[in-house]
Amino acid sequence: MDPNQAKLLKEVMAADFTLIDLNLYLNTHPYDQNTIMLFNNCAQRAKMLRNQYEKLYGPLTVQNSPYKCPWQWINSPWPWE
């Protein structure tokens, strides 16, 4: 994977992980208004980074569209490679 792609992917991963962790916290603190605001801001940033990544390097989730032919969802590298 080229270094620019790896760098942007790492940013997407970090932004998404922030959401995973805030999600768990909010499940047990559903009235924490400040954290909900933080979640909203982080979600927006994660979405922006994701769009940027997918435009340059292809889909992270299969529902992403539009696709060209051939179907690029199956392209390497897979995350374990």
């Binding site: 989730t61 299969v62 969802w73 199956i74 392209n75 390497s76 897979w78 995350p79 374990w80």
Partner: protein, 203 residues
């Protein structure tokens, strides 16, 4: 990685509990040909697949099987929801109630807890894909047995959907097998596995 979607793949809305049926259907949750075994099998085998088509199909069918696991769990839950202990016992679920109350636990119809011994991950893509083809047929046959045992259309409808998905998976695995076989035939030295067949490695 995975992200949860707060919906079922296909709706499950069972209006009448039927614990006897739940006792059988739970086999597709944690039984030998169930959805948990299917998912773990494909998601484990995908790592050693040699083509992107095969990686993709194992990844994505393995993911869909998790959605099926959720549907089967939902069916079991709705079939036993609110059913009192004595009714469960008369339906043959007294032992289950003792250990699990109204919880959903991965086990087969005969009560055997789920085990990874139900699956293989061989590192040989031809062997793995043949196992997958067989697994889909076994799951299809199990759904047909369950449909024969069921008399409630609310239960039969999602079971029919799940049965049809096994047929589609079988078709896709067959195509993946053909692609992998073609690839192995065109580049015999691509295969990492059969060191024993390669004179260079024979001592």
């Amino acid at each position: 990685m995975w992200v949860y979607e707060k919906k079922l793949e296909y709706p499950v809305r069972i209006k009448t509990p039927n614990p006897k049926l739940a006792k059988y259907i739970i086999s597709q949750y944690g039984g030998p040909d169930g959805e948990l075994a299917a998912s773990l099998r494909y998601l484990s085998q995908r790592f050693s697949m040699p083509t992107n088509e095969a990686k993709g199909i194992l990844n994505d069918i393995g993911t869909e099987e998790l959605a099926h696991l959720e549907m089967v769990g939902t069916i079991v839950y709705q079939l036993t929801r609110g059913v009192p202990a004595d009714v469960l016992e008369r339906a043959g679920l007294g032992a289950y109630y003792t250990d699990h109350d109204h919880a959903v636990y991965p086990m087969g119809a005969s009560g055997t807890p789920f085990t990874a011994a139900y699956i293989q991950s061989k590192g040989d893509p031809i062997a793995d894909l043949h196992e997958d083809l067989a697994a889909e047929q076994k799951a299809r046959a199990t759904y047909e047995n369950l449909i024969n045992l069921a008399d409630d259309p609310d239960v039969i409808d999602p079971l029919r959907f799940l049965r049809e998905r096994e047929v589609v998976h079988f078709q896709r695995f067959g195509e993946a097998l053909r692609i992998v076989q073609d690839k192995l035939a065109e580049k015999p030295f691509y295969v990492k596995k059969p060191d024993c067949m390669n004179p260079v490695y024979k001592r």
